[in-house]
């Protein structure tokens, strides 16, 4: 890989964007005017309410917002980086040039990233300049230098995530309109992150922002790598022959339901009929083997959740949670089929929704399910230990009886969801992204119906009918 074509592609595209007043005008407003407006609004709110302590917490968030708005402008240029050229018929001449796919991808990525990122940094500098000039002395220390650098790092990594995600979308769509519609895959998770950051800033827990930063950095690295791996001339030009055909999509999905073949085997090669016997004897073990990477990620998610739960108990203890655990541990509800039914319904809902919605958030929701389940176990175990109770008693009473079935089912379900989320990012040789999604959805449907559903029902029956007895026996309730 050489720098020259990357630089040439990036320079041309940046020059093209920066000489277009339709792009330049909003960027100038977002860079120089909006930060001043945000700061003025925050200062006005502080003066109006007269409570510096609480309202001044908005100042760091204002800084973050000042950077985020111009950074989000990167979506526009990134989204149309490939598909826009394709619509204007300029892409083929570029694809005919003697540069590698990686060089072309990096050139486009750089062009989409640098101007909005620079604009975001200038906007943050503008905000800080006005803040130092206009803020009253008693709130001048609200943005310390370490917090400011953290904000800058957050904006930089968010820009990379947005641009890398948008470039992937752009290289996998056939029209700018479709790319704009798919932009929600990037915008919605980013909006959630910004809201989370706002909560953390208002709650004055800036150290938590580092966790968000590392998580975003991991996503950014993943997206850039995925983009580089999945981008190729062949796919872009082949998509000219692809059309949206519901009949064809349904036919392909049904083919993938028939039997299991590794990803990349065309739908036409699926010939057998679905049988339960073959599924349990041959296909399910083959699916587990094919899904070994997502299964490993799910296990890591569970382990991370467990460690986070223990860590969270030490760092972020909440009085209301302490009270709740004080009153509920050892006091099991009465065993009943209705309780079992409620548990089964809840677990199935979580499994279904997290997996299907993973399609719209690159599998993040599926990743979070085992984390959340194991974080609860970690937190309560740590709470038990802190209160002189045995964590093993808690595990034996509350987790093991049904958890031995339910937790592997959650991990398996999460792996299926991760594969669904990842399907959009990278299609293996022989598959288009659409076929990859259909393949992962078909596997999810089969495994969910034939494996996860029975496991979750059995686990819920144990949890609703047996676990309360064990809890009472072990805790003497």
């Amino acid at each position: 890989m050489t720098l020259r074509p990357i630089r040439a592609v990036a320079r041309r595209e940046m020059r093209d964007n920066l000489t277009d007043w339709r792009m330049l005008f909003p960027v100038i407003i977002l860079t120089f005017i909006v930060p001043a407006v945000i700061l003025s609004a925050a200062l006005y709110a502080i003066r109006f309410i007269g409570d510096n302590g609480s309202v001044a917490r908005l100042i760091p968030f204002g800084l973050l917002l000042s950077g985020f708005l111009p950074a989000s402008f990167s979506l526009i240029t990134a989204l149309e980086s490939f598909v826009g050229e394709k619509e204007r018929n300029t892409l083929e001449s570029l694809l005919a040039m003697p540069m590698s796919d990686g060089e072309l991808y990096l050139g486009k990525l750089t062009a989409a990233l640098l101007p909005p990122l620079s604009s975001a940094l200038i906007a943050m500098a503008t905000f800080m300049l006005w803040y130092n000039l206009a803020a009253p002395p008693d709130i001048i220390d609200r943005v310390r230098s370490d917090l400011m650098w953290l904000m800058i790092a957050l904006i930089a990594v968010k820009s990379i995530v947005m641009v890398a995600g948008a470039v992937i979308i752009s290289s996998h769509t056939t029209t700018v309109r479709a790319a704009n519609l798919l932009a929600s895959f990037v915008l919605v998770p980013m909006s959630v992150v910004v809201q989370l950051e706002a909560l953390v800033i208002i709650a004055q827990q800036p150290q938590l922002l580092w966790n968000i930063f590392w998580a975003l950095l991991a996503v950014a690295v993943m997206l850039v790598r995925t983009g580089m791996n999945s981008f190729n001339r062949e796919e872009i030009l082949s998509r000219e022959h692809a059309g949206f055909n519901v009949k064809r999509i349904w036919w392909t999905f049904k083919q993938f339901l028939r039997e299991f073949h590794p990803a990349g085997v065309p739908a036409e090669h699926y010939e057998g009929r679905f049988t339960l016997r073959r599924f349990y004897r041959q296909e399910f073990p083959a699916i587990l083997h094919e899904y070994r990477a997502p299964l490993l990620v799910s296990c890591i998610s569970a382990l991370t959740g467990l460690v986070f739960g223990i860590f969270a108990f030490g760092e972020y203890r909440a009085a209301w949670l302490d009270n709740y655990l004080q009153h509920s541990i050892g006091n099991a509800p009465d065993p009943s089929p209705l309780l079992a039914l409620g548990i089964a319904a809840n677990n199935l809902r979580v499994g279904l929704l997290s997996n299907l919605l993973s399609l719209f958030c690159f599998g993040i929701l599926a990743f979070l399910v085992p984390s959340a389940a194991f974080a609860q176990i970690g937190y309560v175990s740590a709470w038990q230990a802190a209160h002189g109770l045995s964590p093993s008693t808690f595990m034996l009473a509350y987790v093991l009886p049904h958890g031995i079935i339910e937790l592997p089912a959650f991990i398996l379900s999460s792996a299926l969801g991760l594969r669904i989320g990842g399907a959009l990012l990278y299609a293996p040789q022989g598959f288009t992204v659409g076929q990859n999604i259909l393949w992962s959805l078909a596997n999810f449907a089969k495994v969910f119906a034939c494996v996860i559903l029975p496991l979750v029902i059995v686990a819920a029956l144990i949890e609703g009918l047996v676990t309360p007895h064990i809890v009472r026996a072990l805790y003497g309730g």
Binding site: A8, R88, E92, A96, S238, H241, W251, E271
Partner: protein, 320 residues
């Protein structure tokens, strides 16, 4: 310079190219003719190392298109179906950009761009933004882009589309010059006059296959039979018609003219002239009746039938 053997290309279910083989030597122009969607563009994309063939092999300028795609892309100049220019750039900036991507030094690129812009009468407009160019001017800039790095092989898709006759002549002259300087050229065109004027060899593509190929003469003879000749006289032909009919196959005749076919005009025509002279029938003219490539092309396209899609599983109807 170009050697392709049994090239196949699938786009999912769609079998776009089905076993195309062709050879183009240095200094030769091959015209690929065929209706829209016949597989010409896909073939050219495979030969210019933008798409990988699913089956078959191709070497361009001595390099395998699947093993050394970047080298092939450097050796090839591609004029795409649409000019596809960056509208906000000037012609000079645009060409310098592509020169840089082709690995040319800036000064080398600038000199070559200037030379070609002058040759194609675009020098005066070199600093104007490309969105202000006419369609023909845009096409010329795209052609200059393809020629900028002086490639050994050129793939030209409809090179004279949207050009006025004078510009089209300039481009045709440029293509002829390239042929003379031993470049191998593949011309995809619907303009049969252009193919007639420039091509040394013609291949007609339909449904991803070459359905007819040869020189213009070979194709015409193969499809339309022996050349047709017409003799015109000053007086009415009477007994001469039956007499001539014993020498050649008469296709049609009138009072003072007669059309006939012969596979050996060099022998038949002097004999026929002698016969008319002996009969005292003054001859005004004897000439070959021009037969256009268009009639050959239409005959070929009319004779070949479209085929079904490949890859359909047994017993199952695949939605298109």
């Amino acid at each position: 310079m170009i050697e392709a053997s049994d090239l196949h290309k699938y786009f999912g279910q769609f079998h776009a190219v089905r076993g195309i083989s062709l050879q183009v030597a240095a200094g030769q122009v091959l015209a690929l003719l065929g209706p829209n969607g016949a597989g010409k563009t896909t073939t050219v994309r495979m030969l210019s190392a933008i798409l990988k063939p699913n089956r078959g092999s191709a070497r361009v300028a001595g390099h395998d298109v699947t093993v050394e795609p970047q080298v092939v892309r450097h050796k090839v100049g591609l004029l795409t179906e649409y000019p596809g220019l960056y509208a906000r750039m000037t012609a000079v900036d645009y060409l310098l950009f592509f020169g840089e991507l082709q690995g040319l030094h800036r000064s080398e690129s600038a000199a070559r761009a200037a030379d070609l812009l002058k040759r194609f009468d675009l020098w005066a407009a070199r600093d104007r933004k490309l969105d202000g160019y006419s369609k023909g001017m845009k096409q010329k800039v795209a052609l200059i882009r393809a020629m900028l790095h002086d490639p050994d092989v050129l793939f030209l898709d409809e090179p004279t589309t949207a050009m006025d006759p004078q510009s089209a002549r300039t481009v045709r002259d440029a293509i002829a010059d390239l042929r003379d300087s031993r470049r191998a050229i593949v011309l995809c065109t619907h303009n049969l006059t252009e193919a007639e004027a420039l091509a040394d060899y013609i291949a007609v593509v339909r449904d991803g296959q070459i359905v007819a190929e040869g020189t213009e003469y070979q194709l015409t003879k193969q499809l339309l039979g022996d050349p047709l000749w017409e003799v015109r006289t000053t007086r009415v032909l009477n007994g001469e018609v039956a007499d001539i009919g014993r020498m050649v196959q008469i296709e049609d005749y009138g009072d003072t003219w007669l059309r006939y076919r012969t596979s050996q005009p060099e022998e038949t025509n002097p004999s026929l002239l002698r016969r008319l002279h002996t009969a005292g029938t003054p001859v005004v003219s004897l000439s070959e009746v021009p037969r256009s490539l268009e009639s050959v092309y239409l005959r070929i396209i009319g004779e070949t039938q479209p085929e079904r899609m490949a890859g359909v599983p047994d017993g199952e109807e695949v939605p298109a």
